[in-house]
Symmetry: C2
Subunit: 336 residues, 2 copies
């Protein structure tokens, strides 16, 4: 835990996505995006790293998505409205960082990274619907159904889910993992016993007394499963051997659960303005959250414990995992 | 057009799915399902053929779908409620018939056939939602959202779409078409410029004066695209060469459009009881339909013309295409 890459973020407990600019300029050497493209294992400038990755991912997503004026224009506008709404691109960034950790080519993992972001966005569009979480705001903007109506929002979500698999069809398989293996990985993670299971359990838990194991079921499936598959797919794309895939899976499981616990904490402690979505909604809707079930301080301790386990899982990768270490710390310390 | 396989259906213009039993026993030699498994090119017993295929497809779907009590049980019950609601299994049957026409192994095409049925069912579950076509009945039973609520119905649709791709990951590729090609074919057919484009255009046309070319756009995308991909995927699974794939594509395009025109006609001419869904709904909702745009008789003539073109496209397959010929006639003459 004394490696240099922990220092950058742990010294500054209030690093948020929005103040990353000042954080980065104060705390790390300013280096160009090119440097990261050339040598991702150097001491990291988090801001430049994230920007470079976001740019790469956004460009690829823009290429994969039909133009906004493609017939039917309403649908393609709605897809792009939600996909280009200022998302952090966390899942694709984690995917590419896992590829780096396994010394793979990040351009080769790009289709999988983009497919993951399309699936994440579809799940948000559908979860926000009136018959689900009924959210009016997302990333600081009106939700898809508030702008385009419920029918188009449902169809835009369907189309984002479907295009994710079209994008997977363009992926180049690695020696150990063919397209069937990659497709299976992503379809299972997004399926009825993972991502969708989590959302169903979340819906069904509303207003009820929820025990810790039920809560863990919701979080492990609703959030952690796709986060875990993000790093697994990155590793698979880099042709990781069984030992490395197993290590990255442990990392993904711990990080995924920590991520959702922190989301729960932020819903209690932050304002809507900072979150870009309605704060305190979970408590108001009597949602199952970690702070509600085990208390705020114990939730924070649990998130730290899981993040520590996530770091430990990366030992097999040595300094190749620097981006994953920095990302894990960033996620623990984020403000929204 | 004088081949023996036309006789069975053309002599009896009112063959419906429900009176197939009497039709078959009166008009064709009674033969066992085994005979079709052994020799699909023999003079066909339509009833036995359809039953045999439906049974095969239902069994495979039952194997692919998680048990109804798998957690979360509500979701898996809803998925099975809609998937096992007495659907005709038309898309998978066409897929397998195309495999036969190309002398392929139908068991090899079964994953693709099942994926197509899951996608078809998801599209029905979502189209029936209150914010879309707002239908209370489907196949004679209350629609998914009437039984399970809107939230679960949306998620059950999402899960059926996702599991379709999980099932595709189990398909065995043919020499000419790898998994990427099969995945691309099905994802594009179900995507924002085909299946979903059709539903969006249909929603947007409601209550408006629709021209024939707009109507054709809706039908070609909402219905014909997946029907066409059904036969294309069956042929691809059988390693069809370019000439055969091109012929089956012409067949699928014509048949797909004819199928939707007949659906429009039945909505006008049949009772809700026979259709198993609300008859006359299209007219009531001022939906874009062929009878509304070009009249009932011209619609019938157009369906016959397209079916004739579909038959003609099959010449390259000789007697191997007997099931496709019989299915095309059956679809033209059906009562619901």
């Amino acid at each position: 835990m004394s490696a240099p890459y922990f220092g950058t973020v742990r010294d500054h407990r209030c690093v948020s996505w929005r103040n990353i600019e000042s954080f980065a300029s104060k705390n790390t050497a300013s280096i160009t995006e090119d440097r990261y493209n050339r040598d991702p294992t150097s001491v990291m400038d988090l801001k430049a790293y994230l920007r470079s990755r976001q740019k790469k991912i956004d460009r690829a997503l823009d290429r994969y998505l039909p133009r906004a004026n493609t017939k039917p224009a309403t649908l393609h506008k709605a897809m792009r409205y939600s996909l280009f709404a200022g998302g952090k691109r966390l899942r694709p960034i984690l995917c590419l960082a896992a590829t780096e950790a396994c010394r793979g080519n990040i351009d080769g993992a790009l289709p999988l990274a983009c497919a993951l972001e399309c699936i994440h966005t579809y799940s948000l569009v559908h979860d926000d619907l009136p018959s689900m979480d009924n959210d009016d705001f997302r990333r600081g903007r009106p939700t898809c159904h508030k702008v385009f109506g419920e029918g188009i929002a449902i169809l835009a979500g369907d189309a984002l889910l479907t295009i994710a698999f079209e994008i997977v069809s363009t992926a180049k398989p690695a020696h150990r993992y063919n397209i069937s293996a990659l497709l299976h990985e992503i379809a299972v993670a997004a399926g009825s016993q993972k991502l969708i299971a989590g959302q169903v359990a979340d819906l069904e838990a509303e207003g009820k007394d929820v025990k810790r194991d039920q809560l863990q079921f919701i979080h492990e499936n609703k959030t952690a499963a796709i986060l875990n598959s993000s790093v697994r797919l990155g590793a698979m794309s880099a042709n990781a051997d069984a030992r490395k895939l197993s290590a990255i899976t442990r990392f993904g499981q711990r990080l995924g659960l920590a991520f959702q616990i922190i989301d729960d904490i932020l819903d209690v402690t932050q304002t809507s303005e900072i979150l870009g979505k309605s704060a305190g909604k979970d408590a108001a809707a009597k949602k199952a959250t970690y702070p509600a079930v085990i208390g705020l301080e114990e939730s924070r301790a649990e998130a730290r414990r899981l993040t520590r386990q996530a770091h430990n899982a990366l030992s097999v990768f040595g300094s190749d995992a620097e981006p994953l270490h920095v990302l894990a710390n960033y996620l623990l310390e984020r403000e929204y």
